[in-house]
């Protein structure tokens, strides 16, 4: 019983850290709300290290995911004949938790991640970065999926590796 409560508290702390870090990553790109790609970056920051283990299992360099996000924007522009101009992607505000303690707002894909994590919370003992990776890897479309594709990552293989890392 107490073990269950402890794990639930750990999961709550992890969710808080995850949301704060996702917001920080979004702001670094001057985005107002974090999307699935920012939750994946936040998962890679978590101290449990399981998100990075999942990436390593499929031979992907987790540190290059941020660059892959920028690259998929550039590739999408090139596809319609636009050579991406040099305009900074960096936002000036790098602080987390700047929303002033109000309701947490995520972009649609970020909400999808949170909802999927909430729906599967009984499988988390406690919540780990690998659980977030599995959820994001399961998303077929969007910036995160295109960034993983730009890295040459097979999303199905990443999802399986994340599920294995979460169980280990």
């Amino acid at each position: 019983m107490f073990g269950g409560i402890r794990k639930r508290l750990e999961s709550m702390r992890t969710i808080r850290t995850l949301c704060q870090q996702a917001e920080l990553h979004a702001r670094r790109e001057a985005k107002q709300e974090p999307g699935a790609e920012h939750f994946l970056l936040a998962a890679l920051d978590l101290p449990d290290g399981t998100a990075r283990v999942a990436f390593a299992q499929v031979g992907a360099n987790a540190a290059s995911f941020g660059d892959a996000i920028a690259r998929q924007y550039d590739e999408a522009l090139r596809h319609i004949g636009i050579e991406p101009p040099t305009v900074s992607r960096r936002g000036p505000r790098q602080d987390a938790g700047g929303a002033g303690g109000g309701l947490y707002h995520a972009a649609a894909s970020g909400k999808q991640v949170m909802q999927a994590l909430a729906a599967s919370h009984k499988d988390h003992a406690p919540l780990l970065g690998a659980h977030v990776v599995a959820v994001v890897a399961d998303m077929e479309h969007g910036v995160a999926a295109r960034a993983l594709e730009a890295m040459g990552v097979d999303r199905g293989a990443l999802k399986r590796a994340a599920e294995d890392a979460a169980r280990a």
Binding site: A30, A76, L77, I80, I82, E83, P85, P92, G98
Partner: protein, 73 residues
């Protein structure tokens, strides 16, 4: 900026939708850069909002936290 020389084929909705998202991202970045530059040159938020075709409140709410050189005018 180059002209649109290659439009996504209608049978490639994933590419076309990715291009829409990338164009929005590019427009947002250009907007932040232009607003930051205007603020540095002493433009008021009212003037910036008029140039962008939005209300001053909307411009300030959406952009004040994401551009450098914000003087909250």
């Amino acid at each position: 900026m180059d002209e649109l020389s290659v439009l996504p084929a209608p049978d490639e909705p994933d590419k076309a939708l990715a291009a829409v998202v990338a164009l929005r991202d590019l427009a947002d970045r250009l907007e932040r850069q232009a607003v930051a530059s205007a603020l540095r040159q002493g433009w008021s938020w009212a003037r910036i909002a008029q140039a962008l075709g939005v209300t001053k409140q909307a411009a300030h709410k959406r952009l004040s936290g994401t551009v450098a050189g914000d003087d909250h005018r």
